[in-house]
Assembly symmetry: C2
Homo-oligomer: 544 residues x 2
């Protein structure tokens, strides 16, 4: 990035945004969305009549294509020049979305409530192509409105994957047309479900923001709620020779899918067949984590099956592998690719090399550190996504965002051969203690720290102390856009924090301008006078 | 409490509530408030036509008095009998408020969406007379609407003190009429202030809910923001013979009030004189915590003053004591009593015995445990308030409410002579990482655990595991009343959690009924069949 000290002003009401592909719904919606966002960001501020006006932004999409759904290999790079006539050019519409976010962040309101923007020239592209947020809608149901609002927040932080951990032991809110009983019996209530219409709405909303929606149907473990309608798919656990009897601290009555039955695979084929019609991403997440073997070990039919199929006595990892191979083949036959959690690899199962492995262990008491897992699993030829550093449901007092910021997915032992297999990372929020009451302030701006790490060039974002002020300003920006992001420093956000908070989708809100406390300004002014970096998060007025 | 198994039903629309003192604004407002709350709690549910109706509640206030503001020694006891014609009798209006809260909690909606209530007879009174929530409006400003909403939540949990840590180093939002510059220069902005009108609104709102509002003007430390307008009150810190020079990690440029100047005391007299006109509680909190002596030690005028006044060289605790004595005398002359944090006692200062001491140390690295402090400070004859266990701004993963629940203010070495000096406790929320975005889910239902501990008889609330289900139900109750209380268990709250959340004062909201997940019910049904206890928190349908 090249920022000059030459200031321009902007009149949001007369600023014209044009594009060569304005008929494409993604571009059309983005132009109107960012016009609104810029008006929101500059509300109650005035044009600076001492300055020349930036009058227009002209958008140029090189491939001249209006695509369907965003995918792993979409091109998100863009070039942005801010001047009296600004230009934003990108290989594809996806780069335009990222460029518009940056453009909106460059426009700011100064202490005298004048709207300003610096002449700037930016070449920008993501460091990692997979930058996700995982939400869990099974432990607590998250209403559609909050999922949409979170997609807004993701777009303000250039995340591009919503990994939807949609079902789990606790509930099955996915409403299947083929198997309506799954949610009729497995959801908390008939209203705690996601219909195909809900899902379409979420996917369409995400698409317009360049965000992929990847569903996770976690098997063979984590399927207790599936058993409410389809106990016949679960393995009966035995105790003292009796099936369907639980044992405290060991296994339930029925748990984990039964990998010995043909009907299990027929069911998975039918369910996943429907899933890939509803979700449009090329990838499906199959979970495969925490498939505890205790229940299998009690069941005589499982033992018999293992003998018949040449699986060594007690080698339940081989049985797990048998299951994995068959389910991954189903996904393959549906023309989709797989993501799975790392557990089968840990168990020594041979997983097809084209499966992407999501690494989540290593931050707690596990056999290896996440760095070791990254080395080992990329050595095995798998592409990987890192989540170990970013379990945002875990909380602690103070500025824990710093540790999220300092985690670098390439900071492990390896060669370029390893590093090129790192697709990116995901911040995960499992829902034991999370619902609509606290999701957004819990997630934002803590996830923003991971967001900057995953987008920005590594050499520009080492300094966690200066990041604090960018992050603080960005949390104020999110506040004024309607995201209740919690504070990370003492201070205030202009007049926004005086107003009553409405948890509605951001675009309908209009909030007053966001500034920072004078003490922070004093701490920070003049820290940097000019820099030439490709920096994602905030082209802050206090950064230059 | 005596609950029978005889069920009644209720029609909220025809239920009549009458009182012998209905002309008293406190009673009038409470009757209409709880009529609304009962309607909210039973929304979308129906009268159970198989049952006899509870038709009326008749309220009898024994002293027949409509008081001004609630005070430390108010009588909050009440007797409640639920029958076809229910009765609530109390010595004073304050007991009526607590009884109405219990009454509202007894009415529930069953699985078939029928409104039910059990015939019940309750004699109830608080275990401790001081049950407070401390909020900090200096590190982040909290808008008036959220303070009001928090008063609602407090009333649902029978708290009776809002300890308002209104100013601190970071900002001075109290708008003084006598000294308007204090907030004009010391508040974050001209809008981040509490005017006398705002404060009156908050106090009136609290009074109607039987909640005292005790302001804290923390001195002599924690006064950096005071210095923005009145640097002449702060001690100039010296470095290398020059006044007004800070030293890293030791002292600022100017800090801590200057105890050697007459103008300091004149100012305190004038400010506190105004404060006691605005606030109506018999107590003023004077802070007195963390008065670090490093700055005083650098200042030659301080040394000179100490020599002149016979204070031993280096005995800054004696200087602190000098300050304390003079300020406490001012409060005495204003016909108010004092609360201070424990620090002066720790420093060995002789504090007048009528000052109430708030104990906050002992949960972290301090010289003693909180139990030791309780023993020692009550031995010195002081009445005490415990907060050490309940710093709710500190967070950790999981069900940390359990440790709040398990802390008992009388669980220390002492005799009745010590125990009778324990007035109660306060849950504190310092605002480093708290503002309107996260205050309510951070505080509720975690503070509810402290609330039950402070209200209920000790022998009935030992079982933390059963408390989890009461607390979970109570969080659902708060949700439907408009408080975004966060979850403590997996599950859901009826249909409430599907709806968009509006952070408005609870009374204006109407939400659907709150139930609990079937898995919880299965875990819990039949656990107790009848009990005779004075239990505050939730007269839960699942408790009997």
């Amino acid at each position: 990035m090249k920022k000059s000290s030459t200031l321009l002003t902007v009149n949001p009401e007369t600023l014209t945004i044009t594009a060569n592909l304005a008929s494409c719904d993604i571009i059309k919606d983005a132009m109107s969305r960012y016009e609104n966002i810029i008006e929101m960001d500059t509300k109650k501020a005035e044009v600076d009549t001492n300055l020349v006006k930036m009058k227009s932004l002209s958008i140029d999409i090189k491939d001249n294509e209006c695509p369907g759904y965003p995918q792993l290999n979409m091109n998100e790079s863009y070039n942005l020049t801010v001047d009296e006539s600004s230009t934003l050019s990108a290989a594809s519409v996806w780069g335009v979305l990222r460029g518009l976010e940056t453009f909106s962040q460059l426009i700011y309101v100064n202490e005298l409530k004048k709207i300003q923007v610096k002449k700037t020239s930016i070449e920008d592209r993501p460091r990692f192509k997979h930058r996700g947020i995982m939400l869990d809608t099974a432990r607590h149901y998250l209403p559609v409105w909050i999922l949409l609002k979170n997609l807004d927040a993701m777009s303000y932080n250039k995340f591009n994957v919503f990994h939807w951990h949609i079902v789990d032991d606790q509930s099955f809110p996915y409403q299947s047309k083929r198997f309506p009983d799954l949610s009729a019996k497995g959801a908390y209530t008939a209203k705690h479900v996601y219909t195909h219409v809900d899902i379409k709405r979420i996917i369409d909303y995400a698409r317009l923001r360049g965000i992929r929606v990847i569903p996770e149907f976690d098997t063979p473990g984590h399927t207790a709620s599936w058993g409410k309608a389809r106990k016949d798919l679960l393995t009966p656990c035995y105790e003292n020779g009796t099936p369907g009897v639980g044992k405290y601290n060991s296994h339930g009555e029925y748990e984990i899918l039964n990998p010995t039955l043909n009907r299990t695979y027929k069911f998975m084929e039918d369910l996943l067949g429907e899933v890939v019609e509803v979700f449009h991403d090329n990838f499906v997440h199959l979970g495969m984590d925490e498939a505890y073997h205790a229940c299998w070990a009690t069941n005589p039919d499982i033992s018999k099956f293992m003998v018949q199929n040449g699986i060594a006595k007690g080698d339940y990892s081989a049985l797990e592998e048998y299951y994995i191979e068959k389910v991954l083949k189903i996904v393959d036959s549906l023309n989709r690719s797989d993501i799975i959690w790392q557990d089968p690899i840990d168990h020594g199962a041979k997983v097809p090399q084209n499966a992407i492995i999501q690494i989540w262990k290593g931050s707690k008491n596990t056999a290896g550190t996440w760095e070791e897992y990254m080395t080992n699993i990329t050595n095995q030829g798998h592409q990987v996504i890192l989540s170990s550093c970013w379990y945002l449901n875990y909380i602690s007092y103070g500025q824990d965002w710093k540790k999220y910021y300092q985690c670098d997915p390439l900071n492990f032992s390896g060669s370029d051969n390893n590093f090129e297999k790192v697709l990116g990372g995901e911040a995960c929020v499992f829902g034991e203690y999370i619902d609509h009451t606290n999701l957004l302030p819990r997630l934002w701006p803590r996830a923003s720290a991971a967001g900057e790490r995953l987008w920005s060039s590594n050499d520009v974002i080492q300094d966690v102390e200066s990041a604090a002020f960018r992050l603080d300003e960005h949390r104020c920006r999110m506040l004024k856009r309607g995201i209740p992001a919690q504070p990370i420093l003492n201070g205030y956000c202009g007049e926004y924090d005086l107003e009553e908070q409405n948890d509605r989708t951001a675009q309908t809100e209009s909030k007053t301008a966001c500034t920072t406390s004078s003490s922070m300004k004093n701490n920070y002014s003049g820290y940097l006078t000019l820099y030439y970096i490709v920096l994602y998060c905030i082209m802050s007025k206090r950064m230059v």
